[in-house]
Homo-oligomer: 331 residues x 2
DNA sequence: CTGAAAGCGCTTACAG
DNA sequence: CTGAAAGCGCTTACAG
């Protein structure tokens, strides 16, 4: 049997389709008795409004677009968990848009606009700032609210939720300084992201305050590649502490340090960012800065729903709390 | 300025909207000169067809629904990578539907139907078989093609792409048997999934062939929990080899074995499933059965496009090759 | 409280 | 090769 439509419901209930529509969207405007009659028919027929038709007529799709770079990254997946939980509560559906290095961002953005999403969650932290601004402009022109999640947008007033990465970098570095470490490396990525820039800024600030030498080692996020970098690292560097901008980088470093005969944390203290499963499955267990990724996703989505409803939001730039989980790799 | 519509393009190009539509959908049916004129206007106006309106009129949304349980799992995220890459090629957009234990599957399935997706990729391996069948039936009734990705559907003829998990379990167990191990544990999950059942079947087959004792230890997928289980494990069990149904379980086991004074692989050989980053960041490096998760996603999506186009597909049940990556945790 | 009608922005037979 | 018209399944003023 064909899917029931609003027509068949109206017919069976002996009302007009306007009334059926009201029962669904503004039930209080319909007399109780008719409302119940319509509802009964809806149930019997298993009627579900065609979301596409509704989207066209109402100009609201109840779809939100989530823009990501690498959906494969644990933090991204975790954030999606938070997003989808809240989206479910608010009856929004999620459309994923993956932007890669090769893709024409502007073109893709226009494509997203043509998909008529009601709002955008932007998780892509790997885009150059200028590009982010371009993208933001296009969404603005089309009146589509955007929330940047775990991405520090350019220094404007864009809605965003994240943690204070500079402070986090500062604090994590400070714990190593307080442990009397003198040669503290920051293991960062070769490619520059705003988020990592902030971690670096915090690191540098703490290091300089302590009168220590700033030592930033740039490597790859790819474990196979950074293993090689780290192998040569130990030939010529003096090091008694290291912070990886991601847990995977820190664990990788730690493993190779051990292989090179260093004791953790006696010779070298190691800490990472993100507090992922890697930190829990490493030996020794690794100290890591916990970033509430799930919450960032959830809070972003909640903020977005408010913006989509044109509610007046007091604070559109939310900074969530972070904390350091101390484990065996530091003292 | 308001978004250009097909009307404004038609007006500016001096043709009917039918012609504009044809230029977009059946360009060969339009005279070259008019086609070029229309195309020019489209460019000038930055016109993009409203995907929703198109979806309503053509009854094709070029959306595919991806049904997942835990989007947070590395394998799911990786699969999504493959799916989105191919979806991009074929111009499909991806809508994510997360099904959790609490959710009413049947209701959600109806909801997905009402979203008018053209096809479904079903990644949810945590559903009981009966439920899977129910869900499948609903999609069938609504003529929505479904491909099961990395899920073994009930013993019917549903389209699916996966690996031969039983064979994989058999082979992995065999390598340990060939290394002369006698007390080989399978570390499985308490909750039963079809996929793990198959791994168990392969394990059991190999073990019985060798005349060894079947030893299945059930624990949790959660690292915090299984650590505790494994700690008590070593009090009373004789073991010289273990296979974790997931890498994370195997690494967790290995770490605790080492803590209990066992040498890997001398005393205990350890292997996992999935060949994730965990296997690469563990010490010793862990042997693991590589499951081409990305490819499973990509191939599923490609198969789905064919089904959505109503192409005649020879083989709708695809088994991708797997292989064992031997590392330091086994000999 | 309810219905008739227009309209959302497209596609798609049908004519010509 | 092109256009006029109907229709996809809804929502939403407007009347009453």
């Amino acid at each position: 049997m064909a899917q029931a439509t609003i027509y068949s419901v109206a017919l069976a209930a002996g009302v007009s389709l306007a009334t059926v529509s009201r029962v669904l969207n503004n039930p209080e405007k319909v007399k109780k008795s008719t409302r119940e009659r319509v509802l009964k028919v809806i149930n019997e027929l298993g009627y579900r409004p065609n979301v596409i038709a509704r989207g066209l007529a109402s100009r609201k799709t109840t779809n939100v677009g989530v823009v990501v770079s690498d959906i494969t990254r644990a933090s991204v997946a975790e954030m999606l968990g938070g997003i989808s939980d809240i989206a479910n509560n608010y009856q929004y559906s999620i459309k994923i848009f993956v932007i890669r290095e090769e893709t024409d961002i502007i073109d893709t953005t226009h494509k997203i606009v043509s998909e008529q999403v009601d709002g955008i969650l932007f998780l892509n932290d790997e885009l150059a700032e200028q590009k982010v601004q371009d993208v933001k402009n296009i969404f603005d022109q089309n009146n589509i609210p955007v929330v940047f999640a775990n991405v520090i947008a350019s220094n404007d007033e864009s809605p965003q939720v994240s943690i204070d990465y500079e402070k986090a970098g500062y604090e994590l570095t400070k714990t190593l300084i307080d442990d009397n470490r003198k040669n503290i490396f920051l293991l960062s990525t070769a490619r520059k992201y705003k988020v990592n820039d902030l971690k670096e800024a915090g690191y540098t600030k703490a290091i300089k305050e302590a009168g220590l030498p700033v030592k930033i080692f740039r490597t790859s996020g790819d474990t196979d590649i950074n293993s090689q970098h780290f192998s040569s690292f130990f030939k010529d560097k003096i090091v008694d502490a290291a912070i990886g901008v991601r847990d995977s980088i820190a664990v990788s470093f730690m493993n190779i340090a051990i292989k090179n005969g260093r004791k953790i944390p006696e010779n070298i203290a190691v800490a990472g960012f993100q507090n992922t499963k890697y930190a829990l499955l490493s030996r020794p267990l690794m100290t890591s800065l916990d970033i509430p990724v799930y919450d960032i996703g959830a809070v972003s989505m909640r903020l977005l729903t408010k913006l989509m409803n044109k509610e007046n939001v007091e604070n559109i730039q939310i900074s969530l709390p972070h904390f350091i989980v101390k484990r065996e790799s530091t003292r």
